[in-house]
């Protein structure tokens, strides 16, 4: 039996480019890792940063955020706004010690079916190497105030 860790990856993608791109990956019969679950948004500008944190808290080991290339946004500038948000959000997460290697940002157009497969495959490989994201989940499940549990937590944390 294969006991290798299979990462769970959640992908937040925009409707107009990456989702269509992922569709093309399929219709082009390009094989890629099946670890990804796709959540479709109207635009990368709509992808709230809290969603990424919720993904980790609820079991994701890695996250992909992908949308239209700069200047290609269906709504003109949603991806420019998103890019700004990602720049500081990623920096902030890194500062707090959240492993940003678990988050892959990308631009995948509707024509880039092959690139989507590459993005997913690379992310899955990267996250597989990193292992399950238990640190985050543990912190998320833990009810503070219950000092007994807190101590247990601290004891098992290497």
């Amino acid at each position: 039996m294969n006991t290798e860790f299979e990462p769970k990856i959640l992908a937040f993608v925009c409707n107009w480019c990456t989702y269509a791109g992922a569709d093309l990956t399929g219709t082009s019969r390009i094989k890629y890792a099946s670890n990804v679950k796709i959540v479709r948004f109207p635009c990368t500008g709509r992808i709230d940063f809290m969603l990424l944190l919720k993904a980790f808290a609820n079991g994701s080991d890695g996250v992909i955020v992908s949308g239209c290339h700069p200047n290609d946004c269906h709504y003109t500038s949603g991806n420019f706004h998103a890019r700004r948000r990602w720049i500081i959000f990623r920096g902030l997460l890194s500062f707090l010690g959240i492993d940003v290697r678990r988050i892959q940002f990308s631009w995948v157009s509707a024509a880039e079916g092959a690139k989507w497969a590459d993005v997913v495959n690379k992310t899955v490989a990267d996250v597989r190497a990193l292992g399950p994201y238990t640190e985050y989940r543990k912190a998320a499940e833990f009810l503070a105030g219950n000092e007994d549990v807190l101590l247990k937590e601290q004891e098992v944390t290497p």
Binding site: L53, R83, R84, W107, G145
Partner: protein, 262 residues
Amino acid sequence: MNELRSKVKELLGSKEIDLFVGYEQGTRLPRPLIAASAEEADRLIFDENCTGNLAVYLTRRELAGGKKVGIAASYYAMRSISRLLDENQLREGMVKVFGLTPDGGLKLLDAIADVKQHLQEASAPSRQVEDEWVKEIEDMPPAERWKFWTGELSKCFKCYACRAACPMCYCTKCIVEVNRPQWIQPWAATMSNVEWQISRVMHMAGRCADCGACGAACPLGLPVHIIAHKMAEMVRQNFGEPTEKGNVLSTFNPNDEENFIW
């Protein structure tokens, strides 16, 4: 001191201001004083020890709503005032700002242009302690950073003093109080405490005056202002000094640079 007191009394007397937000001697340190009468104005003090950001009172509707307010402002409070004006939370002409000159003299700034001018000319008080702290944390390996922050923030009991002390946190309904959907669990727990701080500084991006009031307010002494300071630094590095065009997240530049999007 006397100059400030007599000036405030004069402005209150002539109804040029309805109240003055300043400092008085507190139990150990200077504390805020909302003066609306001559007797109260006689308790005012203002010196280099008066560093708390009083701009937080300007957006309190029950206190300052519709009133003409004078305020004793530290350098960072002036930054907050300037931003609040940019965000249309204050009206030009409703605020009279009193600053301190480097030699401790009083400086009255009537118009927002004067405040902005002052901010350009005066040098910002040092943030060396915060800078060093940021550096120290950045030098840790990621796992240690995570341990540090979850360790610190697990102590947080969600009194929201960081929010209450912040002049830019003027929303009447905060993201943590929105319950459909409930983005952040309302009780104190490690991850929701971390999420709260992440949300707070994300909402502060490019708006934060970097005054440190959030950290100073924390009754548990958690270094939450360090996260805000790091955010302010990142915004400056990536997007330059903020302009009145809006906070960094509601604007963009087609040439914004990053090195992580594939």
